[in-house]
C-alpha cells in the first residue's frame, strides 16, 4: 500500500515546474508505438517480454492502443535540475529515473508497471525505491491508482512512497485540467 511520506510545498515551487511543462513543446510524447519501437530496438530477454506483457494486457482488455498516450518531462531539460536535487534530499535517495508525467483529459495510462531498461544494472548497486509527488493543486477528475489505492483530491506537494518500485499503477483524467505528477525512482542512501 502506498505510504504518505510528507509534503514538499514549502521546499519546491511546483507551480513553476508545471508552467514550464505546460509551455514546453519538446516533452516526450509516449505512445504504444513509441514504447514498442524503443523496446524492440533496445531491449532483449526478460526485459522485452515485460514490455510485451504490459502491452499485451492492454490489447487483451480491448483498449484501442492508439488512444493511449502521455507526456514526460525531464529535470535539466524541461525544468530546473535543482528540483530533482531538492527532492532527492527530502527522500534521502540518489536519483535514477526522474520525470514529470502529463495525462490529458479523456486519457488513461492504463494498468501497468514501469519497465526500466537499466533495472538490472541499477539493482547491482543496491535496492530501489520509488516515490510520487502530487505537484498540482487537487483537480476534479484527476486520479492516480497505485497498488490497491485510488489517490484522489490530494494536497499539492504531497509525496507517497510506493510499496514496491514495480507496483502496478494507472493515471487517469476525467476532468478538465491536465494531470501532472512528479515521479522519482532512486536508490536510498541508508
Amino acid at each position: 500500500m502506498p505510504r504518505y511520506f510528507g509534503n514538499t510545498k514549502d521546499t519546491i515551487d511546483w507551480n513553476e515546474v508545471i508552467t514550464l511543462c505546460q509551455v514546453s513543446t519538446t516533452g516526450d510524447r509516449n505512445t504504444v508505438t513509441s514504447v514498442v519501437d524503443r523496446s524492440e530496438a533496445g531491449a532483449d530477454g526478460s526485459l522485452l517480454n515485460s514490455y510485451r506483457d504490459v502491452i499485451g494486457t492492454w490489447e487483451n482488455a480491448g483498449y484501442d492502443l492508439k488512444d493511449i498516450y502521455w507526456y514526460d518531462y525531464y529535470p535539466g531539460e524541461h525544468f530546473n535540475i535543482e528540483v530533482q536535487n531538492k527532492f532527492a534530499e527530502l527522500v534521502n535517495a540518489q536519483p535514477l529515473r526522474v520525470f514529470v508525467s502529463q495525462v490529458d483529459p479523456g486519457r488513461n495510462v492504463p494498468y501497468h508497471w514501469d519497465v526500466e531498461d537499466k533495472e538490472e544494472e541499477w539493482l547491482k548497486e543496491g535496492k530501489l525505491k520509488r516515490w510520487v509527488c502530487f505537484i498540482d493543486k487537487p483537480r476534479w477528475g484527476s486520479a492516480l491508482i497505485l497498488e490497491n489505492k485510488c489517490l484522489y483530491d490530494i494536497e499539492q506537494g504531497s509525496i507517497f512512497e510506493w510499496d514496491n518500485y514495480r507496483s502496478h499503477h494507472a493515471g487517469t483524467n476525467m476532468g478538465t485540467y491536465k494531470q501532472y505528477l512528479f515521479h522519482f525512482l532512486g536508490r536510498p542512501n541508508d
Binding site: Y63, N108, G141, Y152, H168
Partner: protein, 176 residues
Amino acid sequence: MIKNIGICDILNWDKIIEDVSNTKPEYVGPSHKRGDAVPGLDEILDMWNAAGYQTVAQGGTVAWDMFIPGKQFDQSIVDQWNDWYGLDCKNVWISRIWPGRFAPIHWDAHDNEANIPECKRYHTHIGKPQWGHIFIAGDQAFYNVEQGTTYEWENRKLWHAGTNCGTTPKYIWNAW
C-alpha cells in the same frame, strides 16, 4: 453530500451483469449533441470541448453503454432494488464503461429537464471491486467499493464522471 445507504445483497448482481453483457446496449452515450434543446447541456458540452474531449465516433474516448429495464434487463430487478431500499425510483439504468472509455465530468441532463423536480439520485456498485474501476461524484472518488453498495446523492444534478483504466468492463446501477 453523498451517503452510503447500505448493501443490496438480495440480488445476484453477477448474474445480472452476465445477462446484460449478453445483450446489445439500448444505446451508446452520450445521447445528446450540440443543438439539442436540453437545459444545461451546452455548459457540459462547452466544458468537454474546451478540455479536448471527443466521442469514440469522433475518434476520441468518450462512450458508455446504456442498459434499460424492460429491455436489456427485467423490471422485477428494479422493483426488488426499490423495495430493498424503500425507494420508488422510476428512472433506472445500468451503465457500462469499457477499459479506456470515459464518461467525463457531467450531470445527467435529461430530455425533459425543465419539468423534473429536484430529487435525490442513487448509484450502486453492482460489479465486484476490480482494479481500475473508478467513479467520481461530487468531491468523492469511489474505488474498491463492495459489490451491492448503494450511495444516495443529495441532488440528481451532482457532477460526476466515470472511467476504466483496468482490464474488465465496469458496470454501475443508476437511479432517480
